[in-house]
Symmetry: C2
Subunit: 371 residues, 2 copies
């Protein structure tokens, strides 16, 4: 989705695509097919580039350091990005900064997990994504669930993190853009709804959020961005606890699903501000253009529906001429994020209804029923 503002701003992109015809390869002319874990491929795509950036965190830290040693401007840099790649490193650093986090500890044995206490959640420190690499241990009887991830951790050397299950009212997300020269812009704090670790819905701004807590969340995100020397977008996913505190859940250093609402709801989208930030151009305003924006992801339902996604257009567009549709050029597969819709306006309930209806329609949940 960075391709759209790059086209508008006349910024040439070169893509390392994991395969021909993938989403980004459909819209970026200058592309190389290769493997983001292969240093030779990384060197091929970054040669001569003014700046290198990412739309995921999975490029190995050592390869990024090698690129930096080659003289490539990697943004965010490896010393920042490692905090989004390794949850263990992230927790240690945030603790050192005094940033409020769920209670957590690295665990190596079942006894460690027992000592940490249940209920808890176990997370692989590297490589987890969209609910993968996460195990819930809710009762003592569940302890056996920890055996498999502990074994994998021991074998791979990828550490396992135990975290308390936070009694939370909801999840929030604070996004900031930050440039190498230190300019930073904080977007309004949003509320996100997760199902099975996958983001389903975002409301901007978070409804009924205590203004002090909103400022605290933005300040926290700005502090983290500054202290970790983040360049580009930083998403700080937060728990709003039932007793009115915020705790950091996860960090991402790229345009993030909880910022997709900005494409239609903010003056400057997160994708444009990510590009501006990594190029050290002045940032665009992160202000909302409208009282409410609701983003709902389009996820594949239980059935494989190759080519069926676009069948949703005539109804969705006719029902709601204000609806903003973003599809990623992917086929509908169970559980796969293939697009999202944004609905904005003055009335939150209206936005929620419009966005949810459209997303359900695209993913086929409404079947052949008309209304």
């Amino acid at each position: 989705m960075m391709a759209e503002p790059a086209a508008a701003l006349g910024i040439p992109l070169r893509l390392l695509a994991e395969a021909e015809g993938v989403s980004a390869a459909q819209v970026i002319v200058d592309q190389i097919v290769g493997d983001h874990t292969d240093l030779a491929d990384l060197r091929a795509v970054t040669a001569g580039a003014r700046v290198v950036t990412f739309d995921h965190e999975h490029v190995p830290t050592d390869h990024l350091r090698a690129l930096v040693a080659d003289g490539v401007a990697v943004r965010p840099g490896p010393d920042a990005l490692v905090h989004a790649q390794d949850k263990g490193v992230m927790r240690e650093r945030l603790a050192a900064l005094g940033v409020p986090c769920p209670r957590n500890a690295i665990v190596s044995t079942l006894a460690d997990v027992e000592a940490f206490g249940v209920p808890c959640v176990l997370k692989t420190t590297r490589g987890g994504y969209d609910g993968k690499g996460v195990w819930f241990v809710r009762t003592a009887a569940d302890l056996a669930k920890a055996e498999e991830p502990l074994r994998v951790a021991a074998e791979t050397g990828v550490r396992l993190l135990a975290e308390e299950l936070v009694d939370h009212r909801r999840e929030l997300s604070a996004l900031v853009a930050r440039s190498p020269s230190g300019q930073a812009a904080a977007y309004p704090v949003v509320a996100s709804t997760q199902l099975d670790g996958i983001c389903h819905e975002v409301v901007a701004p978070a409804p009924d959020l205590d203004p002090d807590l909103a400022v605290q969340a933005q300040q926290l995100a700005l502090t983290i961005a500054g202290e970790l020397d983040v360049t580009g977008m930083l998403a700080v996913e937060l728990f709003e606890t039932s007793d009115g505190r915020i705790l950091v859940n996860e960090l991402a250093m790229r345009p993030h699903n909880t910022g997709h609402w900005t494409q239609d709801g903010a003056v400057t989208s997160q994708f444009e501000n990510h590009l501006r930030a990594v190029l050290d151009l002045p940032l665009g305003s992160p202000a909302a253009r409208t009282p409410w924006t609701v983003m709902v992801n389009i996820l594949g339902g239980p059935r494989e529906q190759v080519g069926r996604l676009y069948d949703g257009y005539p109804h969705a567009m006719a029902r709601d001429p204000h609806l903003r549709v973003h599809l990623y050029g992917k086929d509908l597969r169970p559980g796969r994020k293939v697009g999202h819709v944004n609905a904005y306006g003055d009335d939150l309930d209206d936005c929620l209804e419009r966005a949810r209806h459209a997303a359900a329609w695209f993913r086929g949940d409404l079947g052949d029923e008309s209304e």
Copy 2:
């Protein structure tokens, strides 16, 4: 600029580019380099396409008819497009429809021009663009100016049209999108400022426009779109006469410079609605998102400034974080349109100042002066 909404909507584009690396070729992956006046090239790029459309009017009408005979869905179709290609055909048809136009006549000799009366403007019926193919005959002493275009018309068979010089308050533009099934959406009527036949500035909506005249302009555009069976965007450029009438100046059947404000100022941009219309998808809302939007073109100044355009970014973006910048990946050359800026907000004077400042800065008019 259609590439941006096409990416968002997951609509695959295939481009016929006049040369490698031209503006559109920088952002559309699937491309063929060829000549839009060569039927073989047209057949190569349109083979297998669901719909064929244009970003200019210069594909020969006969070639379009050949494509239609091949079974290609050409939108707008040749019978509609000819009215944007041939000003003589356009004037005859609008007269038959009773649409108010400046007094006009086809002229073949100096005596015809004299009989038509001066002052007048002579226009080549085909191939004119951005002030080219237009000659002003302001006084009887100017009549000799008509000799050259009359000679060219006689030699080429491209007819010459004489039109009265309309005493007008300003120029307006009424844009509509229309789909093959007949759905149509009218954008707010805008005011445009032309210098030497080139659009410099657009204010949306047209300030202080009589609401009855605005409705009349929209109805006129909808009528023309319907009667001519236009598919896609139709721009009707109008004179608002000093005595409060509107007369049709020109027609364009594609996204038009007077609609660039819609990228940031309307719910659905003209580029997205052009795509939706030619694909016969329901149209998006053409409503304004904000009280005022001002578009100012970035035109090359007197000097060639290859590569200098992007120097404008740091200042323009820092001065106005709400500014929306659209560059076309072209170098600054004297008189060339290389981009535009949009400024929107609640206060018209503020929008005008911001957009004019930024455009002047990009084109280098402000030189090295800071403010």
